[in-house]
């Protein structure tokens, strides 16, 4: 797995409190990982910081699952 994907999983585990090893691409960010709006904003801010990328509203609107976030990491590579 790429370093950038690793970063995504680290951030997701940190923000959601779900152990990294239990994260799966098909999981839904809100329904399965319980991201409420403060956590979702924190996730975006941390990802922008650590991936050195800017995630605009349209992009954020397309993020629903762990897999979507992993793809985002590739996109901003």
């Amino acid at each position: 797995m790429s370093d950038r994907r690793e970063v995504v999983l680290d951030v997701l585990a940190l923000v959601s409190g779900v152990p990294r090893a239990s994260l799966r691409p098909e999981q839904d960010l809100v329904a399965d990982l319980g991201l409420d709006s403060p956590k979702a904003v924190r996730l975006l801010v941390e990802l922008e910081e650590r991936l050195g990328a800017e995630i605009d509203d349209a992009e954020a609107a397309g993020l629903s699952t762990v897999g979507d976030l992993l793809q985002l990491a590739d996109l901003h590579a």
Partner: protein, 561 residues
Amino acid sequence: MNAALEAPTLDELLRRARAAGSPAGVSLVDGRGRRGARRTWSQLLAAAEVAAGRLAALGVERGEPVVLALGTGAEFLELWFGAVLRGALPVASAPPGGLGSSELAFRRLSAVVERIGARRVVGAESLAREALVLDLPALASAVVTPAAVAELAPAPFAARAPAEGDIAFLQLTSGSTGVPRAVRVTQRGAAHNPRAMLSALACADPLLEAGLAAGGASCVSWLPLHHDMGLVGCLLSALAGGVDLLLAAPRTFLGRPETWLANLGSVPLAIAAAPNFAYGLCAERVAPEMLPGADLAGWRAALCGAEMVRPETAAAFAQRFAPLGFDAAALRPCYGLAEATLAVTFEARGAGVRRAAPSGAGGPSVVCLGPPVLDTTVRVTAPDGTALGNGAVGEVHVRGPGVFAGYHNDPEATAESLRDGWLATGDQGFLRQGELYLTGRTKEILILNGQNLMPHELEWIAESAAGGAGAARAAAFSVDGAAGERAVVVLEVEEAEPAALAELAREIKVRTGRLLGVPLADCAFVRRGKLPKTTSGKVKRGEARALYLARELERLPEAGA
């Protein structure tokens, strides 16, 4: 006291603040918490006058609602004040956005625009695009970008001094059914409420009183400006009081809560307001070591409102930041609502978070929210309208200069809330020695992380996921969790097969997440007819909640649950 604070109308307040030429002003804080250059209130209002001319050039009439779907920034500030100076009615609305599709946020905005009859929505280009995708042509065609407004040459218009009872702006607020309501805030209320809040702050704290009089205080805020606590509580109060405002976007706080505290710790005398969840977020995510050089001893007023104040959150926050000089007595619970312009009661003793229980077997002890603010009266009434005595629980009613002039284009809702000059708040509580304590709400909204959520939207999602064309019935409500309210949905179903129910529960949770960005704490199923309803078939949410909490719902088992 300065002249702006004594103004009888918001319009006059703005004119006096502009003329006062105080060195105080607003500094925008960027996404990393860095403070930008200060723009004095006079400079901002001069720019707002230009914006007023541009709105006139756009064809905006006196008394016309203009929706501002913009985030925190210079554009919002100039256009909001510009609309007031034009004599139009600014309506601040959350710009739709966030994780996942925010389809319901667009639909809500579209419904608001229709309800209040707004011809123009100032918002991003993407707002118009998304509105078209969602087949909301009226919203799409109403959108004007702030850049397009800025290109217009200001047109002259006849300024006319409004009367105290005229409407100054519309404040969106959630009812428990249907689209958000637009509260008609009066010129008098918008001018009076900042004065009421500042005098409540001053009377509890001589240091703050001196600082406010000398113009040496700063307000540090990240609260959204489409929220009454951000707009009236922070922006208008700072302007009226000649207080410096350090203003960040909500996203900056949620992403980096330490920036709020760092800015608070960098000024000699600070005021800030936030919902309970924000204090909890700081206690959880910020360590004193992350704030080198910050001194929180000058933070004399840490106001807490907009959702139920939890003593354990306040205690955790105070303990966490005591090493930086934070004084637990600075925590000031308060109570307000858009229908009262904002402030109704403020903790005034400077004694921090105190509690008391209602009389008799009325319930557990709750947090004291202080006495009514200046010129404001609070009473607690029984369902038949009679006023109740010390310690008895009833509905909280408010009278005073801040009380609104009704909901825009909604006479029925207005008649329910305004009775003989009294505002019936829908909140339950009691008075003790003239101080207010809230015990709950009769309005059936959910407040998650300081954001109001309407139950019918959750119910609609659950009912449509079940596929029943209006046949399935749901009840949505909130329950208390360790960190605040959590959302629960109970749905009536025909199918009782455990595996199918587990699948439906997940589908409802996923749809709720994607459409509203809200995680469900629980999704429960009962057989058709088991939800309590009125004789006319309306689901009784309060009773459903009581049954759920008492574990008396006849829940159908789900696979894996």
